[in-house]
């Protein structure tokens, strides 16, 4: 038997049997675990509180604008660009490049993790599980965003990945925490 024959056999091997029970567990887990982005939105769901904050911001804005308006106008002229959007600056590439600008906005964005980036066709579920360990030194921020949903810290995530997930070719342990869907919502 050659190396390539072994490879072919392994590629044919199913990682895990389809399991309705496991699917239910994953679904229940995902329902129970509130995404970070939803939490952020819900904190502002009180109309009374929002109105008060908005009014306060308006007053402060008017005051600051009145006092510093001329100075800002000068700076605006200096710092104005051509106003064109940055081509190719989608969220996926931002995440893979290290999640630049993640703290500048609280909008909810849906990200597609592509199959070939995170997992192969044999992977029956935990694409995000693999992503927790992907990236290495350059992608620490994006790793944290994903991994900290289920893990207590980036070190724990890496340890879990190596010690637990790698011990099970079926990846059953991953699917307790990780979404089986390709689409994930993250906070940008």
């Amino acid at each position: 038997m050659t190396d390539s024959q072994v490879e072919n056999l392994l590629r044919q091997m199913p990682l895990a049997e389809p399991s309705a029970a496991l699917d239910d567990k994953v679904e229940a887990f995902m329902r129970a675990s509130e995404p970070l982005c939803v939490s952020a939105v819900r904190r502002l769901s009180s109309w009374g509180g929002t109105s008060v904050v908005a009014a306060a911001c308006l007053v402060i804005g008017l005051f600051v604008g009145h006092i510093f308006g001329p100075a800002f106008a000068t700076n605006d002229r200096i710092s104005q660009g051509n106003g064109e959007p940055v081509v190719g600056a989608n969220l996926s590439s931002q995440m893979l490049d290290g999640g630049h600008g993640e703290h500048t906005s609280k909008t909810v964005v849906t990200v597609d993790w592509t199959r070939d980036r995170v997992s192969g066709p044999q992977m029956q579920g935990p694409r995000v599980a693999m992503f927790c360990a992907i990236g290495g030194k350059n992608f620490v921020t994006s790793k944290e965003q994903q991994c900290l949903r289920c893990h207590d810290g980036i070190t724990v995530a890496e340890t879990d990945f190596r010690r637990e997930h790698m011990n099970s070719p079926g990846f059953e342990t991953c699917m307790w925490c990780h979404d089986t869907s390709v689409r994930r919502e993250v906070r940008n």
């Binding site: 038997m1 050659t2 190396d3 072994v6 490879e7 056999l9 392994l10 590629r11 044919q12 091997m13 199913p14 990682l15 049997e17 389809p18 070939d116 995170v118 997992s119 192969g120 066709p121 044999q122 992977m123 693999m130 360990a133 992907i134 990236g135 290495g136 030194k137 350059n138 992608f139 190596r162 010690r163 790698m166 011990n167 070719p169 079926g170 990846f171």
Partner: protein
């Protein structure tokens, strides 16, 4: 699961998968890690290298070595 033509083939496939599964499980952590990421997750050597903080060349060497160990374990069983 791959489609097979008969119950007998189903049994053979299941047995083969079980033997493979055990062989992979019996590898040590480092070898299994590379096999799982390369074959099951479909990652490139570069990507595996990023995860393991190793060069793609080192990963490729480890991968070949792990395949050879698997081959030894599977010899006579399949």
């Amino acid at each position: 699961m791959p489609d097979t033509e008969s119950p007998a083939e189903d049994v053979l496939t299941a047995e083969r998968d079980q033997i493979l599964r055990i062989a992979v499980h019996d590898l040590d952590d480092a070898d299994r890690e590379v096999i799982v990421m390369k074959i099951f997750a479909g990652l490139t050597f570069d990507a595996v290298g990023e995860i393991l903080y190793q060069s793609a060349k080192t990963v490729a060497t480890r991968y070949r070595r792990a395949l050879m160990k698997l081959e030894e374990r599977l010899r006579g069983q399949l």
